[in-house]
């Protein structure tokens, strides 16, 4: 059975749902995956002596381990633990990153003062904080939340800030002319105007968070996919390790797709109108806004 094509929100793909369209959407990715498995199998076949411990890394061994691990529920526990950490970490990153991005994009003094510091902190790999995180928060979930949040906060903050900076200043003028208070401006004009940017930031942050998650779970916790990888190594269960890697890749892929689907706004959001400036009689526009692009 060919699976349902992955959720499409890209209009280019949605336009022509012909047989070739389905082939492009599903067939080629499957072909790529098959190619990877073949190369993987070949590499083990050619370079690894049969019976050596490395042969446990073969795709068929991994697949069998995966079936067993899913079957006896071992993997589910770790997947759920990991997903929970991702959600909490992302939540913290959003709660901090969105207001931070608003300030960065909207307050020039703040961005001049804090901007360079933020760039400095952003360049420190989140995992560099691991020892500090464990000293601060002890062992358990909290240091993992911290590491995910400190990595995921930047895409959110920067996208939000870019959205604020690109907001049409005329919309703010309009709001003020209608006597909106600052809070009302934020609620009715700024937030809807930057929502698409914030969602983009969240998607990027999810990817970052997923990449941080696995190494972050290698210290101080006894569940999660990162923990499971180390645990498999310690048990010399290399086929389990392979299964875990496949699950991490597949879940990350699915999360990214899901985020793409859920967080891409379908209804009109703020795409600012083509900006035009009419400064004098010589430039009086001769077309209605719909035809603007064709002028000049």
């Amino acid at each position: 059975m060919i699976g349902r094509p992955p959720a499409q929100d890209d209009r280019r793909d949605a336009r022509g749902r012909s047989a070739t369209g389905v082939l492009t959407a599903v067939g080629y990715p499957l072909l790529g995956a098959a190619l990877l498995v073949v190369l993987w199998w070949l590499a083990i076949k050619l370079f690894v002596e049969p019976g050596s411990f490395l042969s446990a890394f073969a795709p068929d061994r991994g697949a069998r381990a995966l079936v067993d691990l899913v079957g006896d529920g071992t993997l589910n526990r770790h997947v759920i633990a990991s997903l929970k950490r991702i959600l909490v970490g992302l939540g913290i990153a959003a709660v901090i990153g969105i207001p931070f991005g608003l300030a960065l994009g909207g307050l020039p003094v703040f961005s001049k003062t804090i901007g360079p510091v933020a760039s400095f902190v952003r360049m420190v790999s989140p995992l560099s904080w691991t020892p500090l995180a464990i000293i601060w928060f002890g062992v358990g979930d909290q240091p993992v939340y911290f590491l995910i949040a400190i990595g995921a906060v930047w895409p959110i903050a920067l996208s939000t800030s870019a959205g604020v900076a690109a907001l049409d200043p005329q919309w703010l003028m309009l709001g003020r002319s209608l006597r909106a208070s600052r809070v009302e401006l934020l609620r009715t004009i700024v937030w809807p105007g930057i929502r698409a940017d914030v969602l983009t930031g969240l998607r990027l942050a999810l990817t970052t968070a997923w990449i941080i998650l696995v190494p972050a779970e290698m210290l101080g916790v006894d569940s999660g996919l990162g923990y499971f990888i180390l645990d498999s190594r310690d048990r010399f269960a290399y086929s389990d390790l392979v299964a875990a890697i496949v699950v991490i890749g597949a879940l990350g892929f699915l999360l990214d797709r899901a985020a793409h689907y859920l967080l891409t706004p379908r209804r009109r959001t703020a795409r600012r109108p083509a900006r035009q400036r009419v400064t004098g009689p010589a430039e009086v526009a001769l077309a209605e806004p719909g035809a603007r692009e064709y002028r000049i």
Partner: protein, 259 residues
């Protein structure tokens, strides 16, 4: 008779830092009567848009005062810009309602007000449409409805038809005239279009640039319209306009200043 809804006395506005200051307008007086259309006519750069922004509360005078008689319900002034500035994520109805959701205008709201306004502006059937489905003329009507619905005492129009094609422009001018009279709106309008000024204005004030001041005012009451031929008046206004435009800084290419 009630006090005039809007009076500017000795209005002066300067831009720029001390030393290189540029006086936009100086010692400017004007008084607008209830129910009239007062047109500020002038070449670009004469400061008429800045004056409008000052009256709208979006900018401040360096000297002088703006006095606006407050309405019992609703607010004192509302402005309509050259661009409709509709929020693309809101439907026509939601765009029109935007201002009523703000605390400052809540007292203007009453049951049925939005529906009535949509009907008055011929927007009932477009109520659920989104801005990217509207023509330029329709969008500007929504923009005007959004301001009128908050029931400002004075409505300021900053070249509201400047970005429209000539035909739509002409239709909207006629339509504005009708709605202004039926709702008894007090309007201050800025334009550089002499035809538009003569068509819509009860009074037309010509502003001269650098520094901006009102150099001449024409009364266009119905009596005076009958008393002298329109063509004659148009000729006079055009001629004065041409003289004034020559004063504009770097007149031939001076439109770029856009003040």
């Amino acid at each position: 008779m009630a006090a005039s809804p809007l009076r500017v006395s000795g209005g002066t506005r300067r831009f720029g830092a001390r030393g290189q200051q540029f006086t936009v307008f100086e010692g400017l007086d004007l008084e607008v009567e209830a129910g009239e259309v007062f047109v500020l006519l002038g070449p670009s750069g004469c400061g008429k848009s800045t004056l409008l922004r000052v009256i709208a509360g979006l900018d401040e005078l360096d000297e002088g005062t703006v006095a606006i008689a407050a309405e019992e319900h609703g607010r004192d002034v509302g402005i309509v810009f050259q661009q409709p500035l509709l929020l693309p994520w809101l439907s026509v109805r939601e765009n029109v309602t935007l201002g009523l959701n703000y605390d400052a205008n809540r007292s203007a709201d009453e049951p049925g007000l939005v529906d009535r306004t949509l009907a008055e502006f011929g927007l009932t059937e477009l109520a659920d449409a989104y801005p990217d489905e509207l023509s330029g003329g329709q969008a500007q009507r929504v923009s005007l409805a959004r301001t009128v619905v908050t029931r400002p005492r004075v409505i300021l129009l900053d070249e509201p038809f400047g970005a429209l094609d000539p035909l739509t422009r002409r239709n909207l001018q006629q339509w504005l005239l009708g709605i202004q009279q039926s709702l008894g709106l007090t309007v201050v309008m800025v334009t550089h279009d002499v035809e538009e000024a003569l068509l819509l204005g009860n009074r037309v004030a010509l502003m001269s640039p650098s520094p901006g001041r009102i150099c001449r005012t024409w009364e266009l009451s119905s009596e005076s319209r009958e008393a002298r031929p329109m063509a004659d008046l148009r000729e006079e206004v055009l001629q004065t306009y041409a003289e004034v435009a020559r004063l504009a800084p770097g007149n031939t290419s001076g439109f770029a200043a856009g003040l």
